[in-house]
């Protein structure tokens, strides 16, 4: 296997609009064949980064390279990238075939080859036979396919997708997720997607970059982003999380302890934390990693096999239940008044009846579950 080749490199790219810093000193490499997602809340600079790659904005500082060529100042029509726009931007006065063939026509591809490639591209997005139709005779999902075919037919080095699923309804969005990833595997082109929807990024991307206020927060695989966030922002932005502020009291290579004022018992971790002793840290605990146990008067707290007795438990009372069908979210009020969210899968039809409002419970979690955050 050949080592992956870097296809896009952002080198210290900064973009300012007047006094506003939209993108702040971003350095990022994207490898050939990746499905890369730029993820972040609105206004975080992800779209600006994408538009700089497409050529609609130029960086204030830094440079952008595609295949080791500096393209920072190349106009959009001379870049080896193509884009699927958020509004799809299908030309309303042209037929589907003319839309898809437009880029080839501009490039002076002979008509016979053009027709063949348009057919191919339409087949790729499952729109065979739609060529003579006008865009106004198509649904939103179909128009998106036209936009996809129109960009792919030019065989770009990188395909840019700006919020590709945001305009579709929930069912279609779900279907398009897997279809887009399958399409990407089939054509083997590097995809770069911008999205504010973390589920979308986790489900589709092979690697994600999380951005906030123009800064790159973390670049990792979806799994690492979720399980090993590097900051409170990432932990909070991706999925649900309970954050506890605390002091790092023990930090050995094979275990660590964090004492949190909001928890009666200290948190025991089965791994070391490279932080200063007595430093302020934050512990992130995902709701589905907290177990819910019945709490009877006088009975001892549950002990999970990898935690020390007395650690990694908290007593509380269920204050709120959100039934989601496949799972239920329980909001548990701890003795100090802090509310903690836990999620429990409804494995059988009766599971949802196990716990009820105002029931005293124990919360317990494994020693490997909490993520310790230094910032």
């Amino acid at each position: 296997m050949t080592p992956p080749k870097t296809i896009i490199r952002f080198e210290n790219v900064t973009k300012r609009f007047g006094k506003v810093v939209a993108v702040d000193d971003v350095s990022l490499s994207i490898e050939e064949g990746e499905f890369f997602a730029l993820l972040g809340p609105s206004g975080c600079g992800k779209t600006t980064l994408l538009r700089m790659l497409a050529g609609f904005e130029t960086p204030t500082e830094g440079r952008i390279l595609i295949d080791d060529q500096d393209i920072s100042l190349t106009p959009p029509n001379r870049r080896p990238v193509n884009m699927v726009f958020q509004s799809y931007a299908v030309f309303p006065h042209m037929s589907v075939a003319d839309n898809v063939g437009y880029g080839l026509k501009v490039d002076g591809v002979p008509a016979a080859e053009r027709d063949r490639r348009v057919e191919e591209a339409l087949a790729l997005v499952k729109l065979e036979g739609f060529g003579p139709r006008k865009p106004d005779q198509m649904s939103g999902g179909q128009r998106q396919r036209v936009a996809l075919a129109r960009a792919l037919v030019k065989r770009p080095r990188v395909l840019l997708l700006d919020e590709p699923l945001s305009a579709l309804d929930a069912k279609l969005r779900e279907a398009m997720r897997s279809e887009l990833t399958q399409l990407q595997e089939k054509v083997g082109i590097t995809f770069l997607m911008v999205t504010h929807d973390q589920d979308e990024a986790l489900a589709m991307a092979s690697r994600c970059a999380v951005m906030n206020r123009g800064l790159l927060q973390q670049v990792a695989t979806p799994g690492d982003l979720y399980e090993f966030p590097n900051s409170r922002f990432v932990a909070d932005f991706i999925g649900q999380v309970n954050l506890f502020e605390g002091r790092l009291t023990v930090d050995e290579p094979d275990h660590a302890m964090v004492e949190c004022p909001e928890l009666a018992a200290p948190i025991f971790l089965d791994h070391g934390v490279t932080g200063a002793r007595e430093a302020m840290v934050w512990v992130a605990l995902r709701p589905e990693k907290i177990e819910l146990h019945k709490r009877a008067d006088g009975a001892p707290p549950p002990v999970l096999e990898d935690a020390r007795p007395g650690n990694n438990v908290a007593a509380g009372i269920i204050r709120h239940i959100v039934y989601l069908g496949g799972a239920s979210i329980y909001e548990v009020e701890l003795e100090g008044g802090r509310r903690v969210k836990t999620q429990r899968s409804n494995l059988t039809r009766r599971d949802q009846e196990d716990f009820t409002w105002d029931e005293p419970v124990w919360l317990a979690w494994h020693a490997c579950s909490p993520a310790v955050l230094l910032s």
């Binding site: 106009p75 029509n77 726009f85």
Partner: protein, 283 residues
């Protein structure tokens, strides 16, 4: 049990007698004068006050009146040239205002509406002064160049109508279409030709139609800028009426009305297709 009276739906109102009566009155008010004019163009009476039987004589007479034909030809020529020029100028102005930011843009936008709000009589006098004292336009030169003064004054007021119509049309343009074309490799000129012009088409048509009809029936401004050799149809009709209203005047007017109606219907049909397509398109 008495059946309860259901409130009428939005379209049901048209079927109720008070609304029908009202609509009839409105249409009579709007069209009765014109229908009278048309009817009396077939009147076999020189004084044209009472109906004396059907004839087409006055159409023949009108078509044989060389002065009237010349004036008619002048009017059409002026309308055609001024429409062409004002559509080009108006489009360019609209594009500039839409596309660029520059000092004095607000002032230019305001100034654009001036020819529409300034009373025509003032424009007429201004043109008269301009073409007699600043740039005297020769009237002895070859046709159609002797119509230059009239054409220029027509352009000066109709191009702002065109610019405003097209500017409004451009406001609905999705800039992503332009970016998409650029992304696919098109240069500026190509984008203009392939994307922008098709989008502006309904505006171009509406603007052209406006410019044409405005020019064709303009009386006030033309009155001040025309000379004895350069009469237009409205001026000619006015001078005919001053002697007597013969059915010939009616006949000539009817021809003009029919011509305008046909042109308008044609333009609306072309534009209607575009609008309908867009409406169905959604985005």
């Amino acid at each position: 049990m008495t059946p309860r009276k259901t409130p009428p739906g939005p379209l049901d109102y048209l079927n109720r007698w008070p609304i029908r009566t009202w609509l009839t009155l409105v249409f009579i008010y709007l069209y009765a004068p014109m229908l009278t004019l048309m009817a009396f163009s077939f009147n076999n009476d020189k004084r044209n006050i009472v109906w004396r039987g059907f004839t087409l004589d006055y159409y023949v007479k009108a078509l044989q009146d060389s002065d009237l034909i010349t004036a008619f030809g002048n009017s059409l020529t002026i309308a055609a040239i001024s429409t062409l020029v004002s559509v080009i100028l108006g489009t360019l102005t609209a594009l500039t205002l839409w596309r660029f930011r520059f000092p004095g843009k607000a002032a230019l936008e305001g100034a654009l509406a001036l020819p529409i709000v300034v009373p025509e009589i003032c424009m007429g006098v201004a043109m008269l002064v301009f073409f007699t004292q600043v740039v005297p336009w020769p009237t002895e030169i070859m046709w159609p160049f002797n119509l230059g003064a009239i054409i220029i004054s027509h352009i000066s007021f109709s191009f702002s109508f065109v610019a405003i119509v097209i500017r409004a049309r451009l406001a609905s343009f999705n800039r992503e279409l332009e970016e998409a074309a650029k992304d696919l490799g098109a240069g500026e000129w190509r984008i203009f030709r392939d994307i922008l012009i098709p989008h502006m088409r309904p505006g171009l048509l509406a603007g052209a139609l406006l410019a044409f009809t405005l020019s064709l029936d303009d009386f006030v401004i033309t009155f001040f800028t025309s000379g004895p050799e350069t009469t237009t149809f409205p001026i000619k009709v006015y001078s005919m009426v001053r002697f007597s209203v013969t059915p010939e005047v009616n006949a000539a007017s009817t021809i003009l009305i029919v011509l305008t109606l046909v042109l308008t219907a044609l333009a609306l049909k072309l534009q209607g297709n575009d609008v309908a397509r867009e409406a169905a398109g959604g985005s």
